[in-house]
């Protein structure tokens, strides 16, 4: 006699895996046993409706008539669910106590209406997992909670995870999942380390259930990021600055990397010969690279100044600002991906341009992808992250070289004002 397949099965989903997708026919109802699930609408971006936890049902609307719900469910942690066929449930409901039948149907209907109301609310408010209005708040609250709860040890703060989470959620009214995902981003960027039960740094980021303490290694960068974000997000006309662009990131990174060969002056400005720089950029970025692309960085808030000289011109820019912007873009990129996917992907390793290794390149990106020194660029980090200070030129002027007495930039004899710091240059005697 043939045996029928088991009606109910236990299924396991890794963090990031989808339990069901929007538009698919509902054939099963799920009951979460362990883990955490994000129930959301995934279109161009993720609109998170709610987070479901253990002993909660999913997809029970399948018991009522109606079109597919357009809702997806993604595991936010390693999750185990019971998958129960709809027909199996219908059969048992028919056979159940009439009061139970009425209650279950009444409950399912109530849930359907509540879920629809929640959906219209969230759609109207564009409830992304990390909405722009709340991006500075997530990182700001992590920062302030860490300072308040954590124990300071030199430059680091170590905070108990459950105390930090309680404070951030109960007092500062932050969403617990947002705090968790925010810390995932900080952990990916090595600004924070979630520690497991042994209280030591693990080789990989441990699952949230195992977090006992969070060691915040780089509070300065966390603060700089949310300060940068709040500064531009709430001003009109700066939206472009808060969207990453792989092309701009690659150019900025290459430019900063090339500038390492040149000394910076006491004002933080670095001056590079125009032709040699553009040639080197072509080598790094590919032949399609045009010098114009450097100047288009001003759309991202980064100014590169070109000065004509007899030697073919000079490009100069404020290097610390460029380095800091690259760091800000790394966090921004992670936030963008979080809003797209609904969670922070931990298996991504960030490429030099701030994009995750697995992210597909667009046609525009591929034209300017770094062509040479990929490993060098991958491992490159701004000096500020290693606690280093920029090297300021101190040696005297070379023969026939004239330096601005204020910022030590090379100037020509014909110049009246310094092209970098705008100070008046001393007149030649005689």
């Amino acid at each position: 006699m043939a045996t029928s397949p088991p009606a109910i099965v236990t299924k396991k989903f890794k963090r990031g895996e989808q339990i069901f997708v929007a538009g698919s026919r509902a054939t099963h109802i799920y009951v979460i046993q362990t883990g955490l699930v994000s129930v959301s609408i995934l279109k161009n971006e993720c609109i998170q409706l709610y987070i479901a936890g253990p002993k909660q049902s999913l997809r029970e609307e399948a018991l009522t008539s109606g079109p597919p719900s357009g809702i997806s469910a993604t595991a936010l942690r390693d999750t185990q669910v019971l998958e129960i066929p709809i027909e199996f449930i219908r059969t048992h409901i028919k056979a159940a106590d009439p009061v139970a039948d009425l209650l279950i149907k009444g409950l399912v209907e109530r849930l359907k209406i509540s879920a629809n109301e929640l959906r219209s609310h969230k759609m109207a408010r564009q409830s992304q997992p990390c909405p722009p209005d709340l991006t500075a708040k997530v990182f700001g609250i992590i920062f302030y909670s860490a300072r308040y709860i954590g124990k300071k040890d030199g430059e680091t703060y170590v905070a108990k995870w459950d105390v930090l989470k309680d404070y951030a959620v109960e007092v500062m009214e932050e969403d617990p999942i947002r705090v968790q995902e925010g810390i995932h981003i900080l952990a990916k960027l090595n600004y924070a380390e979630p520690w497991g039960a042994d209280g030591k740094k693990a080789a990989t980021i441990p699952p949230v259930e195992q977090w006992t303490q969070i060691c915040f290694r780089n509070m300065n960068q966390i603060e700089t990021f949310f300060d940068f974000y709040q500064n531009y997000h709430f001003k009109s006309g700066y939206a472009g600055l808060l969207k990453t662009n792989d092309k701009a990131t690659a150019i900025t990174q290459a430019l900063v990397r090339l500038s390492d060969k040149y000394q910076i002056d006491r004002a933080g400005m670095v001056s590079m010969p125009y032709k040699a720089t553009v040639d080197s950029m072509k080598e790094v970025m590919g032949k399609t690279f045009e010098a114009d692309q450097i100047f288009r960085l001003d759309q991202k808030g980064l100014m590169v100044k070109q000065t004509n000289t007899q030697e073919g011109g000079v490009l100069s820019f404020f290097k610390p600002e460029f380095e800091q912007m690259l760091l800000n873009w790394k966090v921004l990129k992670e936030v963008e991906l979080w809003n797209e996917r609904g969670y922070v992907e931990l298996s991504d390793t960030l490429k030099s341009d701030g994009a995750p290794a697995g992210a597909p390149l667009t046609s525009k990106d591929s034209a300017i992808s770094p062509q040479s020194n990929p490993s060098e660029l991958d491992s490159w980090k701004p000096l500020v992250l290693s606690g280093g200070a920029p090297k300021i030129r101190t040696e005297p002027a070379r023969p026939n070289e004239i330096l601005c007495p204020h910022c030590m930039t090379a100037v020509t004899a014909a110049q009246k004002y310094c092209t970098v710091c705008d100070c008046e240059l001393p007149k030649k005697a005689g």
Binding site: I51, V99, L107, I113, Y144
Partner: protein, 357 residues
Amino acid sequence: MAQEKRDGAKAFNKGSHLFKQGEPARKLFLIQTGLVSVTMTRPSGQVEIFQAAAPQVIGIEALNGAKTYENSAVALNDTFATEIPAETGIQALNGNQATLKLLTTGLLNKHNSILSVLRNMKLADTLTPCPPEAIPKLFASIFHVVSYTATPKDGMLKVVWPAFRKYCQRVFAESPVRLEQTIYLLSTLGYAKLEMVPSDTDPEAPEELGFVHFKDIDQLENFSDFFRTRLKHLGPVEAMNLKDPSLQTSEALLRAFGANVKDAAGLIRIPVNEAVNTLKTELGQDSFEVFYFESLIGRGLQASVFMSGAEKLLEFSPDRIKKSFRNWRILSKITEWNNTGRAPGMPEPDPKKGSQK
């Protein structure tokens, strides 16, 4: 008022309650016809959480083992609903086949979770000037930003008001209007001194708030913590209750025993029986019992009960109790603000500028 029954369903006239928030949760209501509004009582009035129609079931907290209803349900038009005793409902669901039991638990938990999200969204839209849920964050935000960014000056901490307000709004998503009202409220209590400056743009305009000098900033942290505990244990309505028995008991304790000899740590210890008898007289409550102390400690009474040998003692620090009164003073000012719509100390709006939002 509820009327006659039809096919076992009870009729509820338009405007009558199916159940009220705080009543014992003994029944579920399966709506047969009509429309019901499920509301929550707030200090500012009723807030509608959702509307329910046939064949939905409401009063679900009765199935979750809640002692009282968390919301009220009022018929929006003539409504018929079948009343199901909570015990019958629980038995019917528990008597189910295991999978169905699992499913109903899943449905109930999901209902609670979605309802909680919806409730928070609806409550966030209410117009209470300083709603209870916003209080811990409001005071914690001021405390953090002042502690981190202020400049010490003459024993106080000085902040530039426009920059401070902007920062709190952007980083903590704090309402600038609520923040400004709180600063005026704090100024009436002596925790903030306001420095007015001439307007940058209009020399004719009245002076505006330029700097705030904070004093005793730890009290703001203390209050945030105090109110957070009350909110967690008592819920939003009871947390705002100024006639709280813990406050009256604290006052009575100080009156009766405040002059007793303190130990080196500033603590006064008295036999619990003596304390109970004295407080019965002080408070005029013959029903005052030992266990009452313990329940009041969770509500904010700064005291503890412990055994010393065979004797049960009540221990309290008069100084700590006096300090806790500062929290009650802040809370009373917030209540005044919620009742009048204007924080104490807040100047009347300039009619030329139009009404303040």
